[in-house]
C-alpha cells in the first residue's frame, strides 16, 4: 500500500464555549477580543483520527490552517501532538472570506501544494460559526466524495475507505473511493495530549511573520534571512502560503469571493422585561398553579 498522504484542515477559534466573566462587557454583550484563541475542538478530533491512521497504516499528516499570523500557535500545537508538516495559509486578501471563499482557498492550497493527497480530514464544524459548511464545500471543489459526521474508520485500503458515520436518526456504515474528505465528530475519539519531547522541540517553531520579533533572541544571527535558514535546517520553520503561492486570484477569495454579506450584527442582551415573582410558600405555589391552570397551560 502506498504511503497515505493526509491533510487536516484546522481553524483557530475564539473559545465561545467557556465564557468567563472577563469576556462579558457591562452591557451584557461579549467582548470578543477577550476570548482566548483555541484549536477548534472538533478539528482536534480530526487531527487525532489522522494520527491514529498514520500509526496503523503509515503515512504523513499535514495540517493546514487558514487565518491570521497568530494562528501559528495552532500549528505548533499540531506539531506537539504529532503532525509531520504544518502550513499557515495567510494573506490579508483572504480577510472577509465566507465559507465558499474559504473552501476555494483551501482547495487551491491542497491541489497546488499537496496534490498527491489521499484523505482530507476536518472537524464537523467550528465553534465560532457552527456552520459545518467548509468541509462539504471543499470536497465539492476538489471533486471528491465527502463523508460527514464520521465516528470511525472501519477499513482502509489502497483506494477504498469504509467508515461508521452518524445520521439524524441513527448511523450508517458506508464505503467510498479515495481520495476522500471526512468531517469528524467530537464523539470520534479523545485527542491525545502534547507529547513532552515534541513540545520541547517545536515550541521554538516560527513562521516568517515571527522572524523580526524573534531576531533579538538569537544574537548569533544578523538578519531574519539567516534566522530563517537556521530554523529551516532544524525543522522549526513554519511555511506560509499567500494568495500567489496557491495560484489564486484576489477576486476568488476574501470579500470579493464571498457571495454572502453580513447586513447586521446584534449582540444578545437579556430582555429584562421582568417576571412575576412567585413566593416559595405553599400559598404562593398554590396560587401559581391555579393561574397556570386558568391560562390553560395544561
Amino acid at each position: 500500500m502506498k504511503e497515505l498522504v493526509m491533510v487536516v484542515l484546522a481553524k483557530q477559534v475564539p473559545d465561545t464555549q467557556n465564557l468567563t466573566g472577563e469576556a462579558m462587557k457591562e452591557d451584557g454583550t461579549v467582548n470578543r477580543s477577550a476570548l482566548p484563541a483555541i484549536f477548534n475542538p472538533e478539528d482536534l478530533n480530526a487531527l487525532e483520527m489522522a494520527l491514529s491512521v498514520k500509526e496503523r497504516y503509515g503515512g504523513t499528516v499535514n495540517v493546514i490552517t487558514m487565518g491570521p499570523p497568530s494562528a501559528v500557535e495552532l500549528l505548533k500545537e499540531a506539531l506537539y501532538r504529532g503532525a509531520d508538516n504544518v502550513y499557515l495559509l495567510s494573506d490579508r486578501k483572504f480577510a472577509g472570506s465566507d465559507t465558499l471563499a474559504t473552501s476555494f482557498a483551501l482547495k487551491q492550497a491542497i491541489v497546488t501544494k499537496i496534490p498527491d493527497f489521499d484523505i482530507v480530514l476536518c472537524g464537523r464544524q467550528a465553534i465560532d460559526g457552527d456552520t459545518a459548511q467548509v468541509g462539504p464545500q471543499t470536497a465539492e471543489k476538489l471533486d471528491i466524495p465527502q463523508l460527514t459526521y464520521v465516528e470511525r474508520i472501519e477499513e482502509l485500503s489502497e483506494n477504498r475507505i469504509k467508515v461508521h458515520k452518524l445520521m439524524d436518526n441513527g448511523s450508517e456504515v458506508v464505503e467510498t473511493s479515495l481520495p476522500v474528505l471526512l468531517t469528524v465528530t467530537d464523539s470520534a475519539n479523545e485527542p491525545r495530549p502534547f507529547l513532552a519531547k515534541r513540545l520541547l522541540k517545536y515550541r521554538k517553531a516560527a513562521s516568517g511573520f515571527d522572524l523580526p520579533a524573534l531576531l533579538p533572541k538569537y544574537p548569533q544571527f544578523n538578519t531574519a534571512e539567516d534566522l530563517r535558514e537556521h530554523l529551516r535546517k532544524k525543522g522549526l520553520f513554519i511555511e506560509m502560503w499567500g494568495l500567489e503561492d496557491i495560484k489564486a486570484r484576489k477576486e476568488e477569495v476574501g470579500f470579493a469571493g464571498s457571495p454572502t454579506m453580513v447586513k447586521m450584527i446584534e449582540s444578545i442582551t437579556l430582555t429584562g422585561k421582568g417576571f412575576k415573582k412567585i413566593e416559595a410558600t405553599d400559598e404562593g405555589i398554590a396560587q401559581f398553579v391555579a393561574e397556570l391552570i386558568e391560562d390553560h397551560t395544561w
Binding site: I127, T131, A132, G135, Q137, T148, M261, F288, W298
Partner: protein
C-alpha cells in the same frame, strides 16, 4: 412570474421528516411576500405518497425526482439532481433543514453553483438591502442566525447570487396548519445520475429511535447544574411525571454527568418551543436560552436571584429547588384528587 421559493422535503425510512413541514410554514410566508409560488422538492424511491402532505401544509407545487437507485440518501446523487433542478427552474430561494442530511447536502450544492449559503438560520425575513456601493436590492432574503456560540445574532444577505440558500434550524419554525384536501401540481423530473463520480455505498444502516422526545412535548421540566447530582435529578423527573412532561437539561448538567445528552436543550442540543418550560437550577447561559427562549411560558426556579434565566422568565421562584419542587408536586397532585 417571480422565481419560486423551494423547500427540501427530506424523507427517510419511508417517512417524511418533520423539518420539511416546518420549512413550508416559513416558506409560505416568504412566498406570499414575494408573490411567488412555494414548491417542495421530493427525491427518493416511491415518494409520491409524500406529495399530499406537502400540499396540505402549503406547497403549491411538488418537484418529484424518483429513481430506484435513490432508496438511500447519497450526497453525490442528491447534489446532482438538485443542482440540475435549480439550473432548470431557477428558484429565487432554496431552504434546507439544518439536519445532518441538510448540512451534508446544501453546502455541496452551494459550492457547485458558487452561490451563498447561510447555516442554521433561526429566522428568515424579506427586506431591502443597501449595498455599500449604493445599489439597493429589493425584497431579498434576510438570513438570521446566531453565531459566536449564540452570543450574537447576525443577519446575512446574498445580494448578487441566485438562488439565495439557507439551512434552517429544526424546531424553530412552527408546523403550519393542515388544510385537508388541499392539492397542487406535481412536476415529475427524470433524473440523470448514471456513471456518477463520488458516490458512496451504504453497507449498513441502523435506526436509533429517540427515546427522549423534547420537540414533541408541550411541557418540559429541565434541570441544570444547580440540581447538584445525578440522584437529585429524580426530583426533576418526578415533577415531569406529574405534569406528563419531558425531562430536559442544560449542557452543564449533561457535562457533569447528571443526565444523558439526548435530554440537552440549547445551542448544541435540541431547540424547543413548548407551552410551558420549567427551568430548575439552570442559570441560563446564552447557549441554553437560544434553545428555549421561544417557549410560550417560562418558569425559572433558582436560588440565585441574579441568574440570567430570570431575564427571560415569565414566572420566577427564588428558592431552593429541593423545597420548591416537592411543594409544586404536592399541589398538583392534590388538585388531581379533588
Amino acid at each position: 412570474m417571480n422565481g419560486e421559493v423551494w423547500v427540501f422535503a427530506e424523507q427517510d425510512w419511508n417517512t417524511l421528516q418533520e423539518i420539511g413541514i416546518e420549512l413550508l410554514s416559513k416558506g409560505k410566508e416568504l412566498a406570499c411576500e414575494l408573490g411567488a409560488e412555494l414548491a417542495g422538492i421530493l427525491i427518493g424511491k416511491s415518494v409520491e405518497k409524500h406529495a399530499g402532505p406537502l400540499f396540505e401544509h402549503g406547497a403549491d407545487k411538488v418537484y418529484m425526482c424518483e429513481n430506484d437507485s435513490l432508496e438511500n440518501y447519497d450526497t453525490a446523487k442528491y447534489a446532482k439532481i438538485f443542482t440540475d433542478l435549480i439550473e432548470k427552474y431557477k428558484p429565487q430561494i432554496v431552504l434546507f433543514g439544518a439536519s445532518a442530511r441538510g448540512r451534508d447536502l446544501a453546502p455541496r450544492i452551494a459550492s457547485k453553483l458558487k452561490v451563498g449559503l447561510t447555516a442554521d438560520c433561526t429566522d428568515l425575513q424579506i427586506g431591502d438591502y443597501k449595498h455599500p456601493d449604493g445599489t439597493v436590492f429589493k425584497k431579498i432574503l434576510y438570513q438570521i442566525r446566531p453565531a459566536f456560540g449564540g452570543n450574537i445574532i447576525a443577519t446575512i444577505v446574498t445580494p448578487h447570487k441566485r438562488p439565495q440558500m439557507a439551512t434552517v434550524r429544526e424546531g424553530v419554525m412552527p408546523t403550519p396548519p393542515v388544510q385537508r384536501g388541499r392539492t397542487g401540481e406535481i412536476v415529475r423530473e427524470t433524473v440523470q445520475i448514471e456513471n456518477l463520480k463520488n458516490i458512496m455505498h451504504i453497507l449498513q444502516r441502523e435506526k436509533k429511535e429517540k427515546k427522549v422526545n423534547l420537540k414533541g412535548s408541550h411541557i418540559i421540566v429541565a434541570g441544570g447544574y444547580g440540581v447538584g447530582s445525578k440522584e437529585n435529578f429524580a426530583t426533576i423527573r418526578n415533577l415531569a411525571a406529574v405534569l406528563g412532561a419531558e425531562v430536559g437539561a442544560s449542557r452543564a448538567a449533561v457535562d457533569a454527568g447528571f443526565i444523558s445528552k439526548d435530554h440537552q436543550v440549547g445551542q448544541t442540543g435540541t431547540t424547543v418551543r413548548p407551552k410551558l418550560y420549567i427551568a430548575c437550577g439552570i442559570s441560563g447561559s446564552v447557549q441554553h436560552r437560544a434553545g428555549m427562549d421561544q417557549s410560550a411560558k417560562i418558569v425559572a426556579i433558582n436560588n440565585d436571584p441574579e441568574a440570567p434565566i430570570f431575564g427571560i422568565a415569565h414566572y420566577g421562584i427564588i428558592g431552593d429547588l429541593n423545597e420548591v419542587i416537592p411543594m409544586l408536586i404536592e399541589d398538583i397532585k392534590k388538585r388531581r384528587v379533588d
